[in-house]
């Protein structure tokens, strides 16, 4: 992500449509988030990519691995603007590309995604990329969230993962 992406993010978070991503948010807050996402790469060796449409190169969101201090485990996360709304399945493609990279380059997986119960859009995207709801947890900052478990690249989710006791073997 770069300074150019900040302007695109700030424009998106100034619009009412960003309510689906927790917006609208003031520019100051968006700047801090983008700065932290860039710094995240340096501190953790993983982070978020800006997502562009391959046809117009227009910014349409971010996807990546989020693993800040205090997070229960590395998370496959995403935020999409309305920039890809007309491209059916494009968001899922981006999420899967990030998931596959994390496994291939960082040996991270099967990754979790933390989803707010009220976020139907995130729930649908998680289902579209083959993730399954695993359990609910209450986090100090985010409150009650559902943890979805992704499949590893190239395979369907193994049933044995569902039999794992909550918390067992997890970072």
């Amino acid at each position: 992500m770069t300074r150019r992406d900040f302007e695109a993010e700030a424009a998106w978070f100034a619009r009412p449509g960003s309510a689906r991503n927790g917006g609208p948010k003031p520019r100051e807050a968006v700047w801090r988030v983008v700065a932290a996402m860039i710094g995240h790469w340096t501190l953790e060796g993983v982070g978020f990519w800006a997502v562009e449409r391959s046809d117009t190169r227009a910014y349409c969101g971010r996807v990546g691995v989020w693993s800040p201090e205090g997070w229960p485990e590395p998370e496959l996360g995403w935020t999409f603007t309305d920039g890809a709304d007309d491209l059916a399945g494009a968001e899922a493609e981006a999420i899967l590309a990030a998931r596959d990279w994390a496994w291939r380059e960082r040996a991270l997986g099967p990754l979790a995604s933390l989803i707010r119960p009220s976020d139907g859009r995130a729930r649908r995207l998680a289902a579209a990329v083959g993730a399954r709801m695993e359990r609910s947890v209450k986090l100090p900052e985010a409150g009650l969230v559902e943890i979805d478990r992704h499949a590893l690249p190239g395979e369907a989710l193994r049933p044995s993962l569902h039999a794992t006791h909550p918390g067992e073997g997890r970072a």
Binding site: T2, R3, F6, A10, P26, R27, E28, A29, V30, W31, R32, V34, A35, A36, M37, I38, G39, H40, W41, T42, L43, E44, G45, P68, E69, G70, R106, P140, E141
Partner: protein
């Protein structure tokens, strides 16, 4: 996993200090600082999660602005003495020169020495024509550093989003400092 080093950050040296890129190794000392009352003038105390995000944002600041905060090492011991930097997040009144010393490193002129090097970089390399420092009016130690740097109080300022207030100190412009060296 070894995290990649932050690239493109110039390393500066003064008589007693090294200004180097901030990184993962700085987080624990920073978390300890922000757990202490010493951090009360710079937004603390803060929980670890908040410190981490603030640190990540300071690292990302370099990518967004081309300048940012350095970690401050004692050259003789390699110990992390604090940090100093050029700071201009969205919503800030103007680009700022900031400094923070960790416990045990005060009273030796380190903040002044480091801030002078940061300012010389801002004026000499980045082409800044002026600079401010944003200081809590209760932070008399930091005000003393500002005075030693030749800065003077100019106005009070309230952060547009967060609502806290501070005093803006104006540094002398480059031509007034002409001839001053980084050390």
């Amino acid at each position: 996993m070894t995290a990649p080093a932050l690239v493109g950050v110039p390393e500066l040296e003064t008589e007693r200090l090294r200004l180097r890129a901030p990184g993962d190794a700085d987080f624990e000392p920073l978390a300890a600082f922000y757990a202490s009352e010493r951090s009360r003038f710079v937004g603390g105390p803060l929980l670890r999660g908040k410190v981490w995000r603030s640190h990540a944002a300071l690292v990302g600041h370099w990518a967004l602005r081309g300048y940012g905060w350095w970690s401050l090492e004692e050259r003789t011991t390699g110990a992390l003495a604090g940090r100093v930097g050029l700071f201009y997040p969205e919503g800030w009144p103007e680009p700022e020169i900031g400094w923070t010393l960790f416990e045990g490193f005060e009273g030796r002129g380190y903040a002044t020495e480091a801030a002078r090097a940061a300012r010389a970089h801002a004026y000499g390399v980045l082409g800044w024509t002026t600079a401010i420092s944003v200081i809590d009016p209760a932070n008399t130690a930091s005000e003393a550093v500002a005075r030693r740097l030749g800065a003077a109080p100019e106005a009070d300022w309230t952060h547009p989003e967060d609502g806290w207030s501070a005093r803006l100190w104006r540094h002398p412009p480059p031509h007034v400092l002409a001839g001053e060296t980084a050390a």
